[in-house]
């Protein structure tokens, strides 16, 4: 089993802190945005973009690349910051967020930003689109894989389960779904809004191979993602247990910060806290 070294982990931790800071800065500058879900998936995105995905920022649509689809498109601020850090574009551009014709709209758009695979944002679409890409790879006997990040509120959409059934029916073992299970959605706890537990059993029943991990542990994310397919002939799903708003004490586990319109003084407080977190983690 391949494992991350401690220096690799320290590097990924620094990158995650950078992404969290950028997310907060963009929301503060752009006067609002989806915060909670962006902060819960940071470690997953960092691991994908720096350790897993076969990609070339110079050739965003290189044929042989792995595909990543952010089905829960509203988490895109974390994706934009991760892509900036990975070299897709200059990080200064991130601060156009919130302005007219920015390449970083509130939901990702492949016509505006190279490297985005699908125009997501309406929930429940990404798994099918990713499934189609995985099927195309199978038809062409290509070895690239497709990774789709889903929200745990999102998977109440029926179209997700249509796609889940089709992916196992077509034996797409090059398709990986990652559920960012932060346990909250706009209305409150996912267990109360629309309980989908036991989640493992549901995915299993749809013919998927399931693993459950700590979605903030680089070790666990990396180990799971380097073991794809979990079983030949079966699509894989990783249920990543996460904390919504992770890294900002007042936003953690608080559904009010799903979308954040900073109140006066909140940005200063958030930036102070997030910069302290970054300094602490960077000095380690």
């Amino acid at each position: 089993m391949v494992k991350l070294t401690s220096s690799e982990k320290a590097d990924l931790t620094r990158k995650a802190a950078y992404v969290r800071r950028k997310v907060v800065e963009m929301i503060c500058k752009g006067k609002g945005g989806h915060l909670g879900g962006a902060l819960s998936c940071v470690e997953i995105l960092i691991t994908l973009y720096f350790k897993i995905l076969r990609l070339d920022p110079e050739r965003p649509y290189w044929d042989e690349r792995d595909r990543f689809i952010l089905s829960a498109g509203h988490k895109c601020l974390a994706l934009y910051a991760t892509m900036a850090l990975r070299g897709f574009f200059d990080e200064e551009k991130l601060f156009t967020y919130g302005s007219l014709d920015s390449p970083f709209p509130g939901l990702p758009d492949r016509h505006k930003l190279s490297g985005i695979e699908a125009n997501t944002g309406s929930l429940g679409h990404g798994l099918a689109i990713g499934g189609g890409m995985a099927l195309a790879a199978k038809l062409d006997r290509k070895d690239w894989k497709v990774y789709v990040l889903l929200g745990d509120g999102e998977i109440a959409e029926g179209s997700i389960w249509e796609a889940a059934a089709a992916a196992s029916h077509h034996k797409l073992d090059n398709l990986v779904a990652i559920v960012d299970k932060n346990k909250l959605q706009i209305q409150g706890p996912t267990s109360k809004v629309m309980n989908l537990d036991p989640l493992r059993e549901k995915w299993k029943a749809f013919g998927w191979q399931v693993r459950e991990i700590d979605g903030h542990s680089f070790d666990e994310i990396f180990t799971a993602l380097t073991d794809i397919p979990f079983k030949r002939g079966f699509p894989a799903v990783i249920i990543a247990n996460t904390v919504k708003g992770k890294g900002l004490s007042f936003a953690e586990d608080n559904p009010k910060f799903h979308q954040w319109q900073p109140a006066p003084g909140e940005c200063e407080k958030a930036l102070t806290e997030i910069k302290r977190l970054e300094e602490t983690q960077c000095s380690q």
Partner: protein, 318 residues
């Protein structure tokens, strides 16, 4: 004389022909391939015929993913399910994303007349033509079906093809060429011009045979199988040449070709327009010919509508 043909069979044969020429052509089924006459395709290209069962919403997403990876999927299903159940997927995954997918609605209009409104599609043209960049075609005879299937395959981007399931005669010569964004003048007129598409082109030509025996009206006919992009030049010319336009369509009078023509001409040359379609109701169930006749979409009904509209136009001009 060539036999009448089921447009679905003509479509399926054209897709087989395309698949022989282009390895990226795929046929997609949501438990719908058999009725789409795609069995031969399945037999000839088993790896390129992909079955998804009754999952229309996610099929659209799968088609988008396939297209974004270089494939050209033709997804054919019963019209309400492909255009209405999956409308948001069509809008976002195909059209907003601009994926090179061809969706094909079959048994369109009232051709599943006996089954009633769940299987009628009187709103599909209206829905599809609101999508920016979508191509919307509804060919009128077997030559048009084959021609437009080949045209949309060549076109880079999302397209919607509307097919009936009632056998139709050959109206065009087999060599006729069709273009996206272009209609065809069938005959010039002076009193009014009928603009139509689909099976009602045939019915309009039959209507004029009746009319010629009964009246001396000079009626022009335009076949407009491509509803989007609209052939504005041709419509503008017709609006200048005759006193009024009659749009005949197997569709709701809300938002179809009649809506498209009215939206255009109201801005540039407002002329009297009458839309003959199914009024703003859920149509009744029954035998196809009888349901069409109930809404005056039979040759007799079209003939009478032409005469009444022409009289009204003449009264108005005095």
């Amino acid at each position: 004389m060539q036999p009448m043909m089921d447009p679905r069979k003509v479509f399926a044969d054209a897709v087989v022909e395309l698949a022989r020429e282009n390895e990226n052509i795929l046929a997609i089924s949501a438990d719908s391939g058999g009725s789409a006459q795609l069995r031969e395709f399945q037999h000839l290209f088993p790896d390129k015929y992909l079955e998804f069962g009754l999952t229309e919403q996610s099929v659209i997403g799968f088609c988008a993913g396939l297209a974004l990876s270089g494939k050209i999927p033709f997804f054919c299903a019963i019209t309400p399910f492909i255009t209405m159940r999956a409308f948001e997927q069509v809008r976002d995954d195909l059209v907003y994303t601009f994926a090179n997918v061809k969706i094909v609605g079959r048994n369109s209009g009232l051709t599943s007349a006996r089954l009633g409104p769940t299987h009628h599609s009187l709103e599909d043209i209206a829905l599809m033509r609101t999508l920016p960049g979508m191509v919307v075609v509804a060919p009128s005879d077997p030559v048009g079906v084959r021609g437009y299937v080949r045209q949309v395959a060549k076109h880079q981007g999302p397209c919607y093809i509307r097919l009936g399931s009632v056998k139709v005669p050959f109206l065009y010569n087999t060599g006729e060429k069709f273009e996206i964004g272009r209609g065809k003048i069938w005959r010039e007129g002076e009193d009014l011009t009928v603009i139509t598409y689909g099976i009602t082109l045939w019915y309009t030509l039959e209507a004029l045979k009746i009319l010629e025996k009964e009246d001396s009206l000079r009626v022009g006919v335009i076949d407009m199988p491509c509803v989007k992009p609209l052939d504005e030049e041709l419509i503008f010319k017709a609006s200048k040449k005759t006193a009024g336009l009659l749009v005949v369509e197997e569709h709701s009078t809300v938002g179809g070709l009649g809506g498209a023509v009215s939206e255009f001409l109201s801005q540039v040359n407002p002329v009297p327009i009458k839309i003959l379609g199914v009024p703003d109701v859920f149509a009744c169930a029954g035998p196809y010919d009888e349901v069409m006749a109930k809404y005056n979409l039979s040759p007799r009904g079209i003939c009478d509508t032409i005469r009444n509209f022409a009289r009204k136009l003449k009264r108005g001009s005095k």
